[in-house]
Amino acid sequence: MNNLFIYTLRLADNSLVLAQRLSEWTGHGPFLEEDLALTNVALDTFGTATSLLEYAAQVEGKGRSADDLAYFRNEREFTNVLLVEQTNGDYAKTIIRQSFIDHFNLLLYTELAKSKDETLAGIAQKAIKEVTYHVRHSSAWAIRFGDGTEESHNRAQDAVNELWRFTGELFEMDEVENALSKEGIAVNTSLLKEKWEKQVTDLLTKATLKKPETSFMQTGGRKGMHTEHLGYLLSEMQTVPRMYPNAKW
């Protein structure tokens, strides 16, 4: 398989799985306005996923469409990082997960916008403005929860403790990404780690939350080794196209 396809698909899977997770809140948000706000974030993220999947399909050049890639691959073929597939939990957990990812995505897309691959650069360029707003939204909520009541603070801290172990994977590099990074196409995410940690630590401090002491990190998403949550998410997302494979609407 060619490296560009693998890389584009990884980026796509991160967006697609996250967007599907976020869309689970639609109609269930804490109140109407916030329900819409998070649904907007989900829509932006689906938009990025669609562009990336279409490009991946084109790069692969084997006649598979973006929909084929989204709906007719199994769990082990998905290469998203584990963080995005983690369950929504309570709203504090959704927000903490989102603020970790938003800060990462802004750094990632800012670099990817300089990629020598014009399509990836273009997709990143468009995403930067959206993610800039996502950061603002999730950060405001993270501070509100962390620096809120005892209850909201504890829930936010629990979320940080639970999700921290999935953040190391964001900055892993393997032979595929190293090779593409040398060509000026992929982003070397290992170089983003320090900046991300500083931004997130600043956010946690403002929110009166503590960064966990542990340095143990989960990994495996890139190799298709997922937590048990992804299978359920995919079965819900894929059920209609799989029951009616050629349905049009």
Partner: protein
């Protein structure tokens, strides 16, 4: 309405620079930043504007229905307040 959604805010959208901010609706939020973000997500997702104001509804002083007679009716029979008696030269066109 349950107060667990926070106080009410009024939203004003400016369509283009130089145009007035027009009231377009209300929303719930717990603080200024949330009100501004919610306004953006509720009222500007289809390119409705380029600037926003949010104002706590409680900051608005409104006339009451009982005031209607004394406030507005005296203007009814004073047509001379409308500048409709002037002849406008054709060259000026529609004003």
């Amino acid at each position: 309405m349950s107060d667990s959604q926070g106080p009410l805010w009024e939203v004003f959208v400016q369509k283009k620079a130089g145009q007035p901010f027009v009231h377009c609706g209300s929303l719930h939020a717990f603080d200024k930043e949330m009100a501004l973000q919610n306004a953006r997500d509720l009222y500007t997702r289809r390119n409705e504007g380029m600037a926003l104001w949010v104002v706590p509804s409680s900051a608005i002083t409104a006339s009451s229905p009982e005031d209607m007679g004394s406030f507005f009716e005296p203007a009814n029979d004073k047509v001379y307040r409308h500048p409709t008696f002037y002849q406008i030269p054709d060259a000026i066109g529609h004003m």
